[in-house]
Amino acid sequence: MESRSALVQRAVREYESALIGYATTFVSDLDRARDVVQDTFIRLYDQEPGKVTDGLKSWLYTVCRNRALDLLRREKRLVSMDDDAWRETRSTAPDPSETLENNEKRNEVMRYLERLPENQREVIRLKFQADLTYKEISDVTGLTVSNVGFLLHTGLRRLRTLMEPQLSAIHQL
């Protein structure tokens, strides 16, 4: 059995960076994203290791998400408790990733990604960064599996449209 400290160490090592990225989907600046993630790991330390080891990744993303939303509520940025309300709100953050100094250098797709609504961005991140299945994404976000499928499909379709010239060029080669 993995000890509590070993579990947390492993979780920090494997998921910290990705979780911070995920948290920026909601809180938009890195400092607060780190706070959220730190909070998540503290909560992980309070858990019985046996209970969370299996679904560790889903657990981390779920808690991280809830912490982020809590933080937003506390900061009164979220006037309504209605989740749909903030889903409609487009992020105003200029650039969630301060690590990339030069926007020009960023992966092109990541720039287009920012044009997507927040809820589509979130599922795309959970799918391609965290490599979660539809079911796991549904567990984390509370959406239904078919909702997840729809959001991912819509998001990807939008990206396809946005990047049509690049994709065509790729296929012609």
């Binding site: 160490q9 910290e16 990733s97 690590t99 992966n107 990604l113």
Partner: protein, 752 residues
């Protein structure tokens, strides 16, 4: 019905989210519909870009500052939970080199103190460190090779490097292969082998053949039916010696080792050792006895690699030297043979057999043989088998040898094919092209004559690449009810005409989803980068094979070849447990023991296919020989329970218990427990298969120069294997005896 490219189901399919049946249905639909294929390709490209894009994001966290190699022991020390305790315990965390007061020594040092941790620690990190990390990433060499990653042009624009259009091939590259004289092959083989010894660590045969004669000798056209594809009449190749003759010629006579190895056999061994240690295989450690209490559970993987056996044979047969002990793997020796198949009970896919007898080289010990058998499919029930061979043909002697091996195997396969089976031949390498379109097995003559022309290369549309050609051929013979397989036959490289390995993997995966599996056959001393061989077979839902002698290729292209490629069982877990109350210590002969009994599943694909066998041997020392053993209790092959909970518990009445767990192809899980007692059997009365596997292990121990095992001699090994020689369809066992004899001669010489 056509799949709608705007349908969510297609996206789910592209992302691997559909259940198995829906995936198959969708794969078939997509197969027919170019628009859906385009949508699919788009989603896959986007997936790659997104995955790469997210992976490139690095966010320095609150612990990242300690992750530098300069302070490696920070988190490992003590039981403190990863620095989180730092602020919970209200304690000062002071990495090496910081002041006691916890204040900043200077801006570069990372100091953590209570209260400060929560916010302030972060501002030290992100700017410089993350930017530096990004710059390092930008310059990392691995980026340039991976598809889907963005690179920056000098102008600052970001582009995706995808497969660049290949420059038109120069006319020289399309030259036809001229079949060299077999004598020359042998000569060059010998020369190149000594060349190979001079280069290390992993030499590649690149020696040019002497220029072929301007006119090939003996041109009369004998074949009544000219090969199907090539319009030009085939030239009758020069008389073809059998491969064994060739290999015999290729071998060095005993005593001429000095000539081959440049007069320094010892140096050869050193160089060989060096080469081997640099290769993937690595060295092996001699088998040791372990306390049965310490390691009560041994896990048996789903297969052994045959490379070690091939290298051992290569040393003994071709070079007449003892192989370096480090390359010998006992499990490879034991699993080099086909044993008598055991049919599992009706309704089950796998069967386990346990046989025990006294240990031939130490009668105080017992030998336990555990073998796992996959069910075989009766010949009449076999579905039609459509095989497209994609064969690497280049102008090197190593390749010429591998083609001879393939030729031997194909001869054997042609004898088995039914009229509903087809074979297609495509080549890649110097020339990419189709040599033979799918041809029914009843037309063995045309297949044979086309294969003879393989060395002359094939014809194909200009610019078409090997794998695409093979894929087209496989489509021509596609049979929904049958087995559709592409087999990449190679003497080393795995490109199959693709620009890089990843591109090939993608195509292979695409075909696998549409029920065309891809397998790989490595011939001769083929070496593969890392796990490429198995990765490719895995992606293609096929198998990875190796063969380095005519006997091995014949064995490969036997009835088993026609069996379905789908695994019979997945997620295999086979555990062997020895009762520590009754057995003092155990020595696994091959298959390293599992590090712990914590339930971690063994690595590998963990799949068993039709007719597959895995055999493991254990040498055990009984504790205090209790009466029940001497009383001669018979083996009990019993399915005891439907759970494996008793496995792993101490005590219990049985000496050995074997737990078997697997999932059936329809996803049903099955558990079995088999138990056996040690018997007062002599190895002399044991089954021929038991004796043969003991012989293989014993020979391995000799070659490993195992000092703990003094009782095993070459004489004993031959005695052990003797009864098994009665059944030897592919001459593999005789080949083994020849190796033993050779080793014996060499040992005697070294003693003299």
């Amino acid at each position: 019905m056509k799949p709608d490219p705007h349908d969510e189901t297609l996206t789910a399919y592209a992302l691997g989210e559909l259940p198995a049946e829906a995936t198959e249905a969708m794969a078939r639909k997509v197969w027919q519909d170019p628009e859906a294929q385009r949508a699919l390709a788009d989603v896959r490209v986007l997936s790659e870009m997104l995955t790469a894009g997210f992976a490139a994001e690095t966010h320095a966290g609150f612990t990242t500052q300690f992750d530098s190699p300069a302070s490696p022991s920070f988190f490992e020390a003590g039981d403190a939970p990863a620095g989180l305790l730092a602020f919970e315990m209200d304690d000062v965390v002071t990495p090496a080199g910081l002041g006691e007061d916890g204040e900043f020594d200077d801006d570069d040092e990372k100091v953590v103190r209570p209260g400060f941790f929560r916010r302030s620690a972060f501002w030290l990190v992100p700017g410089a460190a993350a930017a530096a990390a990004f710059l390092v990433w930008m310059g990392h060499p691995s980026r340039t090779g991976s598809p889907g990653m963005a690179t920056s042009e000098p102008g600052g624009r970001t582009v995706f490097p995808v497969k660049a259009p290949e420059p038109p091939e120069p006319a020289v590259a399309r030259k036809k292969y001229q079949r060299p004289d077999p004598e020359e092959i042998v000569e060059t083989l010998l020369a190149s082998d000594s060349d190979r010894l001079k280069t290390s660590p992993m030499p590649v045969l690149e020696k040019e053949l002497p220029a072929p004669p301007a006119v090939l000798p003996v041109p009369p056209v004998v074949a009544a039916a000219p090969p199907v594809v090539r319009p030009a009449p085939a030239l009758e190749p020069p008389p073809r010696p059998t491969l064994d003759e060739l290999l015999k010629k290729g071998s060095v006579a005993p005593g001429s080792v000095a000539a081959t190895a440049g007069g320094r056999p010892a140096t050869f061994v050193e160089r060989f050792n060096h080469a081997v240690s640099a290769s993937r295989l690595g060295g092996t450690t001699p088998a040791v006895f372990v306390d049965a209490k310490a390691t009560p559970i041994f896990r048996v993987p789903d297969r052994a690699d045959s490379l070690s056996y091939a290298q051992t044979r290569w040393c003994l047969r071709d070079f007449k030297v003892m192989p370096p002990p480090g390359i010998v793997r006992l499990e490879d020796m034991i699993n080099a043979f086909d044993y008598k198949p055991l049919q599992p009970k009706p309704g089950t896919e796998l069967g386990v057999q346990i046989e025990t007898a006294s240990c031939p080289w130490d009668e105080q010990h017992q030998l336990v043989r555990v073998s796992l058998h996959g069910r075989t499919m009766p010949v009449e029930a076999l579905p039609p088998c459509h095989t497209t061979f994609l064969i690497r043909v280049v102008d090197t002697p190593g390749n010429a040898r591998s083609l001879l091996l393939f030729w031997e195997g194909l001869q054997s396969l042609l004898g088995l094919l039914r009229s509903e089976d087809t074979v297609a031949l495509a080549v890649w390498g110097d020339v990419d092209g189709l040599v033979l379109p799918p041809t029914p097995g009843s037309e063995a003559g045309s297949i044979r004559s086309a294969a003879e022309g393989l060395l002359q290369g094939g014809d194909g549309p200009a610019g078409a690449k090997g794998f695409d050609i093979a894929e087209k051929a496989a489509r021509m013979s596609y049979d929904e009810q049958g087995i559709n397989r592409i087999v990449i036959v190679t003497d080393g490289p795995l490109g199959a005409g693709e620009s890089d390995f990843q591109a090939l993997l993608d195509k292979v995966k695409y075909n696998a989803a549409a029920h065309v599996t891809t397998s790989v056959l490595g011939l001769g001393q083929a070496r593969f980068e890392g796990s490429q061989l198995t990765d490719l077979a895995e992606a293609g839902r096929g198998q990875a094979f190796r063969a380095d002698s005519a006997a091995e290729t014949r064995r490969l292209f036997s009835e088993e070849w026609l069996s379905p490629t789908e695994p019979l069982a997945r997620n295999l877990d086979l555990q062997v447990r020895f009762n520590p109350d009754r057995i003092r210590s155990v020595r696994p002969l091959g298959f390293e023991p599992a590090e712990s009994s914590d339930g971690a599943a063994p690595s590998g694909s963990r799949r068993i296919r039709y007719g597959q066998q895995v055999t493991a041997l254990y040498e055990v020392v009984p504790a205090n020989t209790p009466p029940s053993w001497k009383d001669g209790v018979t083996n009990r092959f019993a399915r005891l329970a439907d759970s494996m909970t008793t496995i792993g518990q101490s005590g219990g009445p049985d000496w050995i218990s074997v737990g078997l767990r697997y999932d059936t192809p329809v996803g049903e899980s099955r558990w079995f427990i088999y138990a056996a007692d040690l018997e007062d059997n002599s190895w002399r009365d044991a089954s021929p298969d038991f004796r043969l596997s003991a012989a293989a292990a014993g020979f391995g121990l000799i070659l490993q120069q195992d000092t703990a095992t003094t009782g095993v001699t070459c004489r004993l090994v031959r005695d052990l294997a003797e009864p098994a020689l009665a059944t030897d369809p592919h001459h593999l066992r005789q080949e083994f005896i020849d190796m033993v004899k050779q080793a014996d001669t060499l040992r005697r010489k070294s003693v003299d």
